[in-house]
């Protein structure tokens, strides 16, 4: 198991170095010139430009610049935002809990609904239920979520007025940020109604962000279950006289979940991409919105740093999923 872990880690290191090259290179090589943006509309004198270039180390050869960048990276320095003049890492860490909270709720919804639906569809294969579930899942899978979010806003915020349009909590409530997770902080604050307000703000964005992962998980669970239900050991379980819930919920599901876990892990990447759209629609102050705003502002230090951090998170999650995969699959655990 430990060697399995080391092997995975060994594969990650060159990929991570590659990711740093991409993050570094994209911003340096492509035609946009960050200095011009820094100068703004008024332009800049050539002397001032040269001065700035020297300050930022941009007069050095490109590989020296990269090594300097890498050196800074390992000291936790991802550059400074042009717009806010604050370190990119600080901004990221401040906004990240909002995205984690949203993504976590979304993945929870997707798993809690997707897996049972997939099981149901597989067990009732070919029935009306199966066709409805799979049809709905395909619609979810094909959904342009930015439009789906707008539709839900029209319905629940516009017509029914059940949920707020944007933000994480009503402006009425003020309390200190302890964990950065609004659901927890609002409970800790002890203010009446704060938690409920946080939930009402969270619900629509979570549903929107959960849509595609839910569809993917339901489809994957169904096909994994169908495969497993035809296996010899399921016949053995039936021959033992086990009740259906034990055959399906234990013997079949335990095996079917192995590929589903990988799928769930892959959804984290899908989620972070989806967060870009979801957070933009709902003005959710997380890293997705931060990146979109920074791109609009051409704040390339933020774009570079954000790109790198998100890729790092996805790689980390995939590593965790690989380990989990090894843990639930005895065939890997013991070899």
């Amino acid at each position: 198991m430990f060697r399995f872990f080391l092997g995975r880690l060994g594969l990650l290191i060159p990929t991570f170095l590659g990711v740093t090259i991409v993050a570094f290179g994209l911003v340096r090589i492509l035609p946009a010139d960050p200095l011009e943006l820094l100068a703004g509309e008024r332009g800049m004198s050539p002397e001032r430009k040269a001065e700035l270039m020297r300050q930022m180390g941009m007069d050095l050869p490109i590989w020296e610049q990269y090594l300097a960048y890498l050196g800074n990276l390992f000291q936790g320095d991802l550059g400074t935002s042009f717009a806010s003049k604050r370190p990119v890492l600080d901004e990221f860490l401040q906004l990240f809990p909002a995205t984690v909270e949203l993504s976590f709720c979304a993945i929870l919804i997707a798993v809690a609904i997707g897996i049972p639906l997939g099981i149901l569809a597989a067990v009732k294969r070919g029935s009306f239920i199966d066709q409805t579930v799979m049809g709905t899942a395909l619609i979810g899978y094909s959904m342009p979520i930015f439009w789906w979010g707008l539709l839900l806003i029209i319905l629940f915020s516009g017509i029914l007025q059940w949920t707020p349009v944007s933000g994480r909590i009503s402006l009425m409530y003020f309390f200190p940020q302890v964990t950065g997770f609004m659901l927890i902080d609002s409970l800790l604050s002890g203010e009446k109604g704060a938690f409920l307000s946080a939930v009402r703000h969270l619900i629509l964005p979570s549903i929107v962000l959960a849509t595609i992962p839910l569809a993917v998980i339901a489809r994957q669970t169904r096909s994994a279950m169908l495969e497993v239900l035809g296996e010899d050991y399921v016949r053995t379980a039936r021959a033992k006289g086990l009740p259906p819930h034990r055959i399906i919920g234990l013997h079949a599901l335990r095996n079917a979940l192995i590929p589903v876990i990988t799928t769930i892990g892959l959804q984290v990447g899908v989620m972070l991409a989806g967060a870009i759209l979801t957070e933009t629609i709902f003005s959710w102050p997380g890293i997705g919105k931060w990146l979109v705003d920074s791109i609009a502002r051409r704040d390339y230090a933020v774009v570079q740093g954000g790109l790198l951090l998100i890729a790092a998170i996805i790689m980390l999650v995939n590593l965790i999923v690989d380990i989990l995969y090894g843990l639930v699959n005895p065939r890997i655990r013991h070899n």
């Binding site: 296996e231 010899d232 050991y233 016949r235 053995t236 379980a237 039936r238 021959a239 033992k240 006289g241 086990l242 009740p243 259906p244 034990r246 013997h251 335990r254 095996n255 639930v328 699959n329 005895p330 065939r331 013991h334």
Partner: protein, 283 residues
């Protein structure tokens, strides 16, 4: 009264190309403590009959029979819940592929204990003791250690022993063994057969041995049913079958045994197909 009595069993499968009749009006009778062998090639419907008895056929199968009784209990009208009380307790079954038949995600001990959990009222400790006892009785060395092994960590022969232990866990009256040795090494085949026969003698349970191997039949069975393409060709006690086979198909099967071969070519069943097809037509 016979332990298991089936009259005129028919099984049809819905397929993309229309219904396919796998079994066409076959009778089976098994008495308590008896060893019955059902022989035939693949496609003869020998497994289908027993899977139908167990209620293990997929939904695409249509099963009809004039009579289908186990200890006087009508198997045709059982609800799934009633059937689960019988299956795995009074009738149990072992299969051809022992490794694939055990769940890869659970230990051998867990899967054994599970059978006891559904069918008995034993306490947790009693169950674990019984598991060890069962594993010893099927000849698994170091049962305390093997209990915690996963199927992929054991050999095919050991997996089949676990399957057998699971099948006899609740002291069944009838054990159905569906080609129990086909997937095993030749040396292991003999051991598993000996184990099955010993368990059968000790417990007095009835045993149905489904096989295509005439050698297995000779070694184990009291009585033999020969099947071909979903029909019963011949039924006889084992001595008279080997000494004086009545049906040409049985003669063909026996002639196909390597030890009966003469000349430089092994005869095959299809060499005889014409002769018994003609006999069929006359009958």
């Amino acid at each position: 009264m016979a332990l298991l009595e089936i009259r005129n069993l028919r099984v049809e499968f819905d397929t993309a190309k229309g219904p396919f009749r796998a079994l066409d009006g076959v009778d089976y009778t098994v008495d308590a403590g008896e060893v019955l062998a059902i022989v035939g090639e693949s496609g003869s419907g020998k497994s289908v009959a027993m899977l139908a008895t167990m209620g293990l056929l997929p939904d695409t199968a249509t099963i009809t029979a004039d009579k289908m009784e186990f200890e006087g209990l009508d198997l045709r009208t059982l609800t799934p819940k009633q059937r689960r009380k019988v299956i795995g307790k009074d009738i149990s079954m072992i299969f051809q592929e022992p490794i694939a038949s055990l769940n890869p995600c659970f230990t051998a001990g867990y899967q054994l204990e599970e059978a006891l959990k559904v069918h008995t009222n034993l306490s947790g400790r009693q169950r674990r003791e019984r598991v060890l006892e069962l594993m010893r009785s099927v000849g698994i060395p170091e049962p305390e250690r093997r209990m915690n092994s996963f199927p992929h960590q054991m050999s095919g022969g050991q997996c089949q022993r676990v399957m057998i232990a699971m099948a006899i866990a609740c002291a069944p009256k009838l054990l159905i063994a569906d080609e129990p040795t086909t997937a095993l090494d030749v040396t292991i085949q003999k051991q598993i057969l000996d184990l099955l026969m010993q368990l059968q003698r000790d417990s007095g349970m009835a045993l149905i041995m489904i096989t295509h191997d005439m050698g297995v039949v000779a070694e184990t069975a009291d009585r033999v049913i020969v099947q071909y393409q979903g029909k019963k060709m011949e039924e006889a006690d084992v001595l008279s079958l080997f000494e004086a086979p009545k049906h040409p198909y049985t003669r063909a099967l026996l002639a196909a045994l390597p030890e009966n071969a003469t000349g430089d070519r092994l005869p095959t069943v299809s060499d005889f197909a014409k002769s018994f097809a003609a006999e069929e037509a006359r009958a």
